[in-house]
Symmetry: C2
Subunit: 255 residues, 2 copies
């Protein structure tokens, strides 16, 4: 296949991560409204989108506003844009998510999906059923986490980078930190054996805890309940974490 | 890591696909209520679950009922169970899903997730933005599709195998087949530029069309609208197909 359509395949492969927004960093700006791109973003614009001088692109400033970029110059090393930022990014999801650390391969996809869905506070927490070795994954380095989160922002046309907090000890986290975190929010823990049918008020502030594959153990559920959490279920079906996350967040969107 | 805990790692890796249910096929039965397992299911039960004679397991008959299996015999090649099937599988999702054929790597995960969520009718359809080569993927062979769908059933403790229909030509499908398919259902197409806020009646019969990365083209949206489809949006955020599928299906679940 790649012998027959080498160019087309390259183009399509680059699309694996849709860049629906060009995210700009402070370092990209060489004047107040002009940026120079030299990295994968330039590469993407030239090879996948066949961008030329005069083309207008959707851009956003990391942790800032959205707007338009006009391509003013393309040379062998860089691509320059004149930028006008006028719109606010889409509203965040009012959900603080506590997620038992998933296996690294799955975490990658979950980070992208969480970021694209608008979660801004993610606590990766320990649980009895989290394999200890997961905490040693290189993916947990800040710059590696950000890489996945940025892909989610580019996908969803958002600019606000989520915060990821690593909490490798369950008990101190739940006892010392969680009460303040969950205060004045609806605190929910997804648990297969809970009663189904809990309804959320769309848009209300929620703290949502999702366990590992196999679920939180009874002790952990008890600790969360002591902290004011209510157990909710998705019904008879047991879902993989990467499916349960969007299914649960979907019900918490204000739309 | 695998040098330090070789056994533990093997156990955990096997858990990548949770077998929350042992699915039994007709061929497994050597009397009306006794089965003999010799394949990956036996392997899984022995190595991951350390099953012994006398243990009771959750089982289900493919396209049949759920119940319990009592381990009656384990030898070098097989594991025997006495079976009692008493419960109905979880109710299906009343959604016929039309999905523009995703790239094979993503399709695998989407098949598992769709199957675990209870979809029973899936049409993989063509669209202008579906790369032609995807239709040549070996994953589209019936036994390969079933493999992924079975993993989803085992995950969600369901027994009813979804039907997958391949429709490689968009126009004849929409003109000749879709009108009957969508008749007496709420017909919806997910489209980023539609008005948001369409509410579903939980549990009503739905035909849902989801486009490829990049969306259906205007001609395709028009053809679907001619066939009675209403365009719905998930708001400002553009989601990857594998995230959009559970987000949309979540809103169509009965509870």
């Amino acid at each position: 296949m790649s012998n027959i359509f080498p160019f087309r395949c390259q183009v399509k492969l680059a699309r694996l991560h849709a860049m629906n927004l060009i995210l700009l960093h402070n370092d990209d700006f060489f004047t107040e409204d002009r940026v120079k791109l030299t990295d994968r973003r330039r590469q993407h614009l030239l090879s996948t989108q066949q961008v030329e001088v005069g083309k207008r692109l959707r851009v956003g400033k990391l942790n800032g506003k959205l707007g338009e970029g006009l391509v003013t110059r393309i040379d062998a090393e860089s691509l320059e844009l004149r930028i006008e930022l006028t719109q606010h990014p889409p509203p965040p999801l009012a959900v603080t998510l506590l997620l038992a650390l998933p296996r690294p391969k799955m975490l990658k996809r979950i980070l992208q999906s969480i970021s694209s869905l608008g979660v801004k506070q993610l606590y990766l927490i320990n649980s009895y059923r989290v394999e200890k070795s997961f905490w040693g994954s290189p993916l947990l380095r800040a710059e590696k986490l950000d890489e996945q989160l940025l892909l989610g922002l580019e996908q969803a046309r958002d600019t606000i980078l989520p915060h990821v907090h690593l909490r490798q000890r369950f008990k101190p986290f739940v006892e010392d930190e969680l009460p303040d975190l969950a205060k004045d929010t609806r605190a929910l823990v997804a648990h297969p054996v809970a009663e189904p049918g809990e309804a959320f008020q769309p848009g209300e502030s929620i703290t949502l805890a999702i366990g590992p594959e196999g679920g939180f153990i009874p002790y952990e559920i008890e600790k969360l309940q002591e902290c004011g959490f209510t157990a909710i279920s998705l019904g008879e079906r047991i879902l993989r974490v990467e499916t349960a996350v969007p299914v649960l967040l979907s019900r918490m969107m204000a739309d």
